[in-house]
Symmetry: C2
Subunit: 249 residues, 2 copies
């Protein structure tokens, strides 16, 4: 099977790397950003182009959500399968006469961070059984965790991921801003952060909640509000309100 990856960002890079590591040859990596494509091409030994899209059986589009539709029109071939990697788009956004699919890896990708691809859940949606079989087999080469998911479910998977990953990372950013402001090394907090995550492997997060809000410790809540301002204060208030609502305090 001839496979082409379209895109040069974090997802494109890691998808290309995941396939290459498993010995699955890629026909081409195609995109606009020549500098990035060149880097990926050199590291992973895959031909690249910014102009001539190679003929393939499967095109995997790894670009930002708002570019998927436009990019999907580049593929003029009809007898092929085209999959996007977005968590929030329907497969019907793909605007060609080919067979359409979704191939969604549930992970946070940064180019500079190595990943264990085996643990990444893949969610697949296709138009027919044969394409499903093809994408399941392909994803199973990379990951131990391959599932089917329609667009409706995928939207909620993506939304959950925003809370459990994107927002969590932003809390780390705001936390570090606070500790930096007092010259407290953020490293102090890493064991606490590790434990916060390890806990949810054993205890429901709702039962693992600690801190002043769930104790309804009004004195500490007020003290903290005096130490904060701007967006961090907004976050502090909304999170505490949400905690207290959840526990009916």
């Amino acid at each position: 099977m001839q496979i082409v990856i379209i895109g040069s960002g974090n997802v494109a890079y890691h998808m290309a790397k995941a396939f290459t590591q498993k010995g699955i040859p890629l026909t081409q990596i195609f995109g606009r950003n020549e500098k990035e494509l060149n880097k990926i091409s050199e590291e992973l030994n895959i031909p690249y182009s910014t102009e001539n899209l190679e003929d393939a059986d499967l095109y995997i589009i790894c670009v930002s959500d708002h570019s998927v539709e436009k990019v999907s029109k580049i593929i003029t071939k009809k007898n092929c399968l085209v999959a996007h990697t977005s968590g929030s788009l329907p497969k019907e956004i793909l605007a060609g006469e080919y067979r359409k699919a979704s191939f969604y890896p549930l992970q946070t990708f940064s180019k500079s961070k190595e990943l264990d691809y085996e643990k990444i859940p893949f969610f697949i949606e296709t138009e027919n059984e044969n394409d499903k079989k093809v994408l399941f087999e392909l994803a199973s080469e990379i990951s131990k965790n391959v599932m089917e998911s329609n667009h409706e479910k995928r939207k909620y998977i993506h939304l959950t991921a925003v809370f459990a990953c994107n927002f969590v990372n932003h809390l780390f950013s705001r936390a570090k801003e606070i500790s930096d402001s007092q010259d407290i090394p953020f490293d102090y907090f890493l064991p606490l952060i590790d434990e916060t995550v390890q806990k949810i492997y054993e205890i429901e997060p709702k039962l693992a909640q600690t801190g002043p809000a769930v104790r309804n410790d009004v004195r500490v809540l007020q003290l903290h509000e005096q130490l904060l301002k701007g967006e961090s204060l907004d976050i502090y208030k909304v999170m505490n309100h949400s905690i207290q609502k959840m526990y009916e305090l």
Copy 2:
């Protein structure tokens, strides 16, 4: 040195366990909740009482912030050292004529979750050099990470911990609420959550931010708002606003 732990909650239990594991004998565990004290006493083989506080050189008060002052008055002895374990109280809240100290373990404690005490940072504040030496030596038996910290700094350490731990756990609760609502197993998200944390060991959280807000993906942000309501919607809006402010989007 005779040591008494006061309290029967999560912190009291883990402090007692940490000392016991290192072969440091505890004279007594003292508190109000006989059922909990009895459980801890049986597991760790420490005498307990709800009525008669034993004579000791060091009392470590492990109770909720709002009870520390009241509980500290139980200790009528003068020639002894009394430490509380609160992140947000000054040592002067301790209301006796003894020497006062703070002995703050930066960790999230749940009784049912085992902990590696060696990794817990301890922050110590005392009235004099000798007490400091005593508490440093004691904490160093448990942990590899013992530091001095005055009340001002401790307040900010605690506040940072609320963002990096308590709020993060609450995001997991809200995330699970969303995935549960669609019968999506929360286990799917564990590799993503692990990676979110592993990333900050290598990349500044501010540089590791991914997701629709930092991409300013208005279509996805609007779609997600339609899927949410109540406190989760409030969190969604505040977090995205804060992300966009941080990156000046």
